[in-house]
Each structure stands twice: as structure tokens, then as C-alpha cells.
Symmetry: D2
Subunit: 148 residues, 4 copies
């Protein structure tokens, strides 16, 4: 017998195929405007195109924008768990492995590594096709505040 899907995940599933600008939860998500490709409890996959305004002075995808993407994706993946309390990010570690250029179509995924009551650990990755560009790890702590 399958567990009933949580309401957060149902919402996210209803967004599959849409750009974040249409339905996203936060202004930052809207601005980053990734397209949601897959949504499971504790797993999300998105796609986005490198915009000219996200370049660094060397003309490649700005590491800070990649960080913004990773953090936003991790937060949304924690949301997919449908938890009753809010979790707040304690730390975010990023490793930069390769570059992307304007117009490149990138995809990213996030997985919950450990869903503890006090602490959630997540990892996220940005790829260009099969090439790994950015690797992230993050811990989030239970704030005790009620989620909505």
C-alpha cells in the first residue's frame, strides 16, 4: 500500500514542465526561472539556460549564480518532503569542477542524503549533458517554526 503523497509534492508535480517564473515559491526562484523536469519526495530535477546577465567578467557562468541556483534547488527539494516544520540552511559547500557559457542548457538535481529530525543533509549537482560542473552539499536545521 502506497503512502499518500504530501501536499507540497503534489504542488511541485503540478509544476512539472513549467518555468519557475510561472509558479515558483519565491522571487529568487522566479528570477532564476528553471524548468522543473522531475519531482519526487526528496528529489528534484530542473533545467535552465545560462543567461547573459549571469556571466562573470571572464564570460562564463558566474559561480555565485550557480550557488544561488543550488541553494534555491536544495530549499525546494526540502519543501518536497512535506514536513510540518520549517528548516533553515546552516551551511552550503560548493565545489566548482567545470565551466559553462552563455546559452548553454544545464540541468541540475538535488537529493536528500539524510532526513533527520534535527538536521537534513542534501546534495545537489549542476551538469552540462553528462559533464558535472558544480557539486554542492548543505545542512538545514529544524527551526521549530510551523511550515505552511
Amino acid at each position: 500500500m502506497e503512502t499518500k503523497e504530501n501536499a507540497h509534492l503534489s504542488y511541485l508535480k503540478s509544476c512539472i514542465g513549467l518555468q519557475a517564473s510561472e509558479k515558483a515559491l519565491s522571487p529568487v526562484s522566479k528570477w532564476l526561472n528553471a524548468k522543473l523536469l522531475e519531482a519526487e519526495e526528496g528529489y528534484l530535477k530542473v533545467e535552465f539556460v545560462v543567461k547573459p546577465e549571469w556571466l562573470n567578467p571572464f564570460g562564463s557562468f558566474h559561480g555565485g549564480m550557480a550557488a544561488a541556483f543550488m541553494d534555491d534547488l536544495i530549499g525546494t527539494t526540502v519543501y518536497s518532503l512535506g514536513l510540518k516544520v520549517q528548516y533553515s540552511t546552516i551551511n552550503l559547500n560548493l565545489d566548482y569542477l567545470s565551466f559553462a557559457l552563455e546559452g548553454d542548457v544545464l540541468w541540475a538535481e538535488c537529493k536528500i542524503v539524510r532526513k533527520g529530525i534535527a538536521v537534513i543533509n542534501a546534495e545537489a549537482f549542476i551538469y552540462k549533458r553528462k559533464k558535472l560542473l558544480v557539486k554542492a552539499a548543505s545542512n538545514l536545521v529544524n527551526t521549530g517554526a510551523k511550515a505552511y
Copy 2:
């Protein structure tokens, strides 16, 4: 006898008091639009106001935008060293200590911790008045490519 100031630092000093949107080196810097307060070789201090489009779904300053700021500030501080080769970010670690809200005036600083030939290590901080909000550490590697 004082060492002659490097050209990168001279340029940055000419930007003190300006918003990044006026003179910044990259589209991301322009968009983040911090005001430069101080510039020394290996040290920068900036100020910025939390915009509504940088909020997370809980209504506070998005950790991913803070990460984008930190990475951009670190890159510009490395630029202030006036080095002849380009350095590329290997990793960025962020610790989130406290929150900020829309309209808060924040300030940030970056210091070069170690200026090695192969690797540069930097740390950066975001504050609201005297309260530390975000702490970052980053390593950058010598790419061998000529800086301009």
C-alpha cells in the same frame, strides 16, 4: 618607499562611493549593485540593500543570493591584487548565522587570507551593523591564463 599601486586597485579605488551598476566588471556585479566603501590590495568593503526580489519564500534574504554576493565580492577582491594571471574558484563554503529582511542595509567585506602562487584563499563576511549574518571561505586556483 611605497610600492606603486597596481592598476586593478587604482580602478577599484576610483569606484569608491559608486554603485556597482555604474562601473562594475560583470553583469552579476551590476545586478547585485553593491556600493563600494573601501578598497585596498586584498581587501574590499561594500554595502547593499536587501531588495524584494532577493527574498526566500519565508520573506528573508535568500541564502543563495548571499552566496552570489560572497562569490562576486571574493572574485573582485582577488582582482584587487593586480595579478598577472587569472584565478578560478575551486570551492566556496558558506555558513549562515543570522537573517536579514527586505530593506535591511547590509555590509560585507572580503580579506585575502593567503596569496599563494598556485592557490589563493579568501574569506568574506556579511553583516547587519555589528551582527554577523554569513561567513564564507573560498579557494581559487591559478589557471595560467593571462589576466587583463
Copy 3:
């Protein structure tokens, strides 16, 4: 009027000038055997000598042993806060900046950056005289378990 010193700190102060092998709280501390130089609430300073058994295959101080030192020092510094609950390490980030050799006398310090109820953030450093060798940052979470 001064706050009464907590019992954990009093104990640590009674250990100043001693090697950890004489009085330390854990087998690992005893084995690492640093000498305690200073102890305040949320601040510790220790000294140790690089032993031959802590070298890496290149003959310099093993980064993993430095990590063990940092983690142990951070844990003891959290202990100096005299808190009523136990905190458990969530993450530890280490940056390696320079090397040490057998017989080098190193010193290390740890500072509590933020003493939150849910999360404590700490930073620690290993030096050879004035030269920074290792830089660490760590987050610890409130486990709810009673401290003793």
C-alpha cells in the same frame, strides 16, 4: 558584577599548563596530547609538537591529523561554554594553507562565532608562530541530550 564562571570552564582553567594526556576528556585528546595555554568561555588556545607518527608520506604534518586536532579543539571549546545540553558536530570544513614538519611547535586556537540555541558555529586555526597553516569552520547542533 561578574557572572559566576561555569563548572566546565573552571575545570579547563585548572588544566592550563598541563598536557592533555594528564587530564583530557577523551582518549583522542589524550593521544593528541596538546598543552592547554589559555581557556575562556568560548575560547581555547593550545600548543603541540608534531610527532613522527603524524607525518604523511611526503614527510609533513598529515592533514587528517590536523583535522582531528581541529575537531577535538572545537569540541572542547564548546564544552567551555558550560551548556546544559550536548551539541553534536554537523559539519567540519578545513582549508590547508601551509605545511609543518616533524618537531615543529604549533599552536591552535578556537573561537565560538555564534552561540545559538539550535546551532553553534565555531572557527579554529593552527599556526606555526605567526604563519597560519590550517583554518577550520564547524557547525554543531543541539541534540537535546543532557550534558554532564
Copy 4:
């Protein structure tokens, strides 16, 4: 046609089934004394038993010793690549997800994530059976020094 196995890997393969105390490359490896289970180019798997001298004051496996293990394993995995130059660890990030007790049999593995000329990125994990206890990520930089 298969590439000829590098000499470092051949050596490591000859150590499969042995404790590190018998053949390891460094005093720290010998002291940690893991048993090598698998060795491929860029991949190692080891097993070890939690000793009483590796406990923290709460009686569980000391995070600092876990860090020492991870760093040592990562270094040996880089060695398995058979490179002509030495790489030095720039940073090591550890996430602690669960605990182990004295006598627990743990296993660990390390994978090279990216084998760049300037920078190598590696990840490593400690498990108790199928339960992930510690997750590590590390970057190592080309020192230019000849490997032996």
C-alpha cells in the same frame, strides 16, 4: 586494448586483504590500520574497526578521527591514479550524518570526481553496513613536485 596498469595501482592491488599496519605508505595510515578491500584507478574501498582510543567523550567514534580516515583515504586514492606529480590537499569538507560505537566494523570508499591537471576533486564516505555515517569532499592541487 587495455591500458597498462600504473605502478602505484599495482602496489595497492598487492595490498588487498592486508591491514595498513603491514604495508601502508605513512605512519598515519599504519596507525589508522584499515584493511584494503578494493583498489581501482581512482577508487579505493577499505574496512576498519572502531578502537577504544578513537572515542569522543560521549563514547562514540570521534569526528576528528573520521576526518583523519577520510583525508588519508583520499590521499591514497589520488596515489592510485599513478600521476607523475604530487598533489597537495587544499580543503576537506566533512558532513557528519550518524554515529558509530566501539567495535563497530565500518567501511569507507573514495572516488575521484574530477581528475584535472591543476585540481583533483574527490569524495569519500564512511558507512556502517548500508548506513552512511560521514560524507567528505576534497580538492587537491598540483604542486609541480615530482611524484615518486
